[in-house]
Symmetry: C2
Subunit: 264 residues, 2 copies
DNA sequence: CAGTGGTCTAGACCACACT
DNA sequence: GTGTGGTCTAGACCACTGC
């Protein structure tokens, strides 16, 4: 069905999702609608991170469109790092566990050597408590003041040197049961643990970066003089549907590392 | 020609550009080869920034491929911000002058309000001299030690407050004739001036970011106490073919602004 | 109106991975 | 070999722009 040159009894093509009166017709291409449907399946967990999704032919049959239309929908999802294609094997739900995209949100790189050469970060969890969200934290996470959030404070070290001090706030309900042990002992990226243990997949994030001086407590935890300039990074990470699911405030030492960014 | 099911006298499809012996066959899809050809035309200036390039049908005829193949090539160029498509009008060579992408390399945003609300940065050029490149500058610009480079030092102010102190190094030959007046008086982004006056188009850049304390001279120029933490941003900007064409070292005040980054 | 990019389809064949 | 994603083509029609 649904080709523009099909029989007149077919469902009209390009049917906009928003019917009724609207100042803009809200024209939406078929492949965008298909993309939306696939996105829904990802959201509800029909296929879990790392799993194979149905082949393009199968999806085309399910949605009653041509393979090319499904292809274009998946192309966009792949461009947004929501799925990963592998020729000859299939299309997989993206996961932070995948070797090739591990730590893709960590932009702090050692000045010499590469990330892999550092063994891996040592994590020490200083705190992991359920608290009530302040007005500010609540606003940034789209919660209400006083809602329960999990607050984690940790230090990450590279090559034995404490380098990152981070405070993390997570919505309480979605992360019920999160423990300090879990944060400390999980092998691999924290976001991979969030996927596996809580079914929360972070798909994008925004960061605001500043230069700051640490307060006494921060300086002590990073073992630096109190006049050391440090990088302040505030991150809001989002899951599907642009829903904020993590607030992270970190301060980074940048004497042996730097924040690397590609502009294009 | 060139379809896989065409007559046997046709040019073979998927002809790799690297003939002869090679450990990897270096298979290159047709559309990638077309993309390369279009890229060449952009490089040699067959179409200048802001200009309309030939229609997909014309290019398909020129290269003897189908419109779909040209389309896929242009799709990738558009994704890399090298060209811009406008339905009903055509495909244009991207330019830093275009309103919608002005200052796309400037990631420092005011904490309140938006970039447009600030009027526009005031530029004061402190220096604009031809010098010989140090070993370090030469290495970062892929030049030889002692080659001529243009060194510019300037302060950018927002709302009357000096906010950015920048040193810029440019390869001498490509920027012959660049003057302080030009740097100061050009309306619009500096990179737009580079395009218009020198035919150098920056297409991407890498940045390394650190937190630093200013030396006395820097503190004076930014009118801040010498213990103010500042953001140090080292940028290498590239033109076509990944050729480095600018080294920029800036220090940013981040008391009223922040460096904004989107992770995905 | 004609010309542009944008969408959709159908079919063929290629490169790759598993079995 | 079979099945996957990847490439390429050809043709039709849609949406937008400007004459």
């Amino acid at each position: 069905m649904s080709s523009s040159q099909s029989s007149p009894t077919d469902t009209p093509p390009h049917s906009a999702s928003t019917l009724g009166v609207s100042s803009t017709p809200a024209f939406s291409p078929l492949y965008q609608q298909i993309k939306g449907l696939i996105l829904q399946s990802l959201q509800i967990g029909e296929w879990r991170p790392g799993e194979l999704i149905p082949s393009e032919m199968e999806l085309a049959a399910r949605f009653k469109v041509s393979q090319g239309t499904v292809r274009k929908a998946i192309d966009e999802l792949a461009a947004e790092n929501l799925v990963m294609r592998r020729q000859g094997k299939g299309t997989f739900v993206a996961t932070h566990s995948a070797q090739q995209v591990q730590y893709r949100f960590l932009k702090l790189h050692p000045d010499v050597g590469d990330l892999a050469g550092e063994g891996r970060a040592q994590r020490s969890i200083l705190e992991c408590k359920r608290i009530r969200a302040s007005a500010e934290i609540a606003r940034l996470l789209s919660l209400r003041s006083g809602d329960t959030v999990v607050h984690v404070r940790r230090v990450l070290g590279f090559a034995g040197i404490p380098t990152i001090l981070e405070d993390i706030w997570l919505p309480g309900p979605a992360f019920k049961g999160l423990t300090a042990e879990q944060m400390a002992n999980y092998k691999g990226p924290t976001y991979a643990m969030f996927e596996g243990d809580f079914g929360v997949r972070m798909v994008r994030a925004d960061e605001k970066i500043r230069a700051v001086l640490p307060d006494e407590a921060q300086a002590a935890l990073l073992a630096v003089p109190s006049v050391t300039p440090l990088l302040s990074v505030e991150r809001i990470a989002y899951t599907y549907n642009d829903m904020p699911m993590e607030l992270r405030r970190g301060i980074y030492r940048t004497d042996t590392h730097h924040y690397k960014n590609a502009l294009s």
